[in-house]
């Protein structure tokens, strides 16, 4: 068997936007995309950490835009600066741990604004301003939490469940231009998001052993799946939700 003339897993010649690229999964995705040949546009709120990501990218032609995507004017300014895109990774998001009986209105906004409302409004602008090339691939980083309940995770799970439902409709609406939309649903991945809400690293290190593959995910695990979904290798995939979880059936 001869090798195909071009590698379907390569991102050579593609321009990819990654949100939340300053840390964790977003940073790993940006790095992986650059290694696979893409020109990457990075965005996030924290300029210093975004600069760090930029310094870790391979190749040239990358772009960095500091923006808080929950602010309308900053979304507009980002989209204005963007070249046409072949890939979009809607990754920015925050975590939360509040039991249902303690939920206050502000707890909901703090999660739904960055996790759901900002990505929907950014997506709308990208379409409206005609920044998405025909045949492009859009990836939403959702979570296994949407499907598998864990105590204290109600608002976060609901926000990710909403993202998944939204992405399915988006995929349908963009299919006529052969633009594909898929979600990644990771279980626990080693990032700031899982240690921020009062769960100590030691506690998590013990808990990860319950996963069949005996560990939580690394950001690189998720990045490799993103590369696949952004590449031509996944040309016949849209409206899918890919679970990546070390075999875990609970969080």
């Amino acid at each position: 068997m001869s090798l195909p003339a071009s590698n379907p897993f390569s991102l050579e010649g593609k321009r990819v936007l990654v949100t939340g690229a300053s840390s964790g999964i977003g940073r790993a995705i940006a790095i992986a995309c650059s290694r696979m040949g893409a020109k990457v546009t990075l965005t996030a709120r924290n300029e210093k950490r975004l600069d760090e990501t930029m310094s870790l990218l391979l190749g040239d032609g990358h772009q960095l835009v500091v923006a808080d995507l929950t602010e309308e004017t900053q979304r507009e300014s980002l989209v204005e600066q963007l070249p046409k895109l072949d890939g979009i990774v809607q990754n920015a998001g925050v975590g939360s741990r509040v039991p249902c009986k303690s939920i206050e209105e502000k707890d909901i906004y703090e999660i739904f604004n960055p996790n759901l409302i900002a990505p929907i409004l950014l997506q709308k602008l990208l379409i409206e301003e005609k920044k998405i090339n025909k045949g492009a691939s859009i990836v939403f980083v959702a979570s296994m939490a949407a499907k598998y309940p864990s105590a204290g995770n109600a608002i976060y799970s609901a926000s990710k469940g909403a993202v998944i439902s939204y992405a399915r409709v988006l995929g349908l609406e963009l299919a006529s231009r052969l633009i594909r939309v898929n979600c990644i649903c990771p279980a626990m991945v080693w990032t700031d998001l899982i240690t921020k809400d009062g769960v100590d690293k030691e506690v998590l290190e013990e808990a990860q052993l319950k996963y069949p593959l005996k560990r939580y995910g690394s950001p690189e695990d998720i990045a490799n799946l993103s590369v696949f979904l952004l590449s031509e290798a996944s040309s016949w995939m849209t409206g899918s939700c890919v679970e990546i979880n070390g075999g875990a059936k609970e969080l």
Binding site: R97, K101, A151, G152, G198, E202, V203
Partner: protein, 73 residues
């Protein structure tokens, strides 16, 4: 301390208020669960502005010991 005990007790639904004393070993209460622990952490953050961690909670046995952790943070 009195107010802290009241706020602590408020995270329970079926345990009598009289059962909550400074020296009460809260993990021995029948109603205690990891979800109660989460509710206590959330209450402490909202009412006292202190972010407790799971290990903070694990490091103490009584309500008074927990109160001391909260006031020392």
């Amino acid at each position: 301390m009195k107010e802290f005990i009241k706020n602590f007790a408020n995270q329970f639904d079926d345990t009598e208020l009289s059962e909550f004393q400074p020296e009460t070993k809260f993990r021995d209460l029948e109603e205690w669960s990891s979800l109660t622990g989460l509710a206590v952490m959330n209450m402490v953050e909202k009412k006292y502005g202190v972010k407790l961690t799971v290990l903070d909670l694990r490091s103490v046995n009584t309500i008074e010991e927990l109160y001391n952790v909260v006031t020392s943070k």
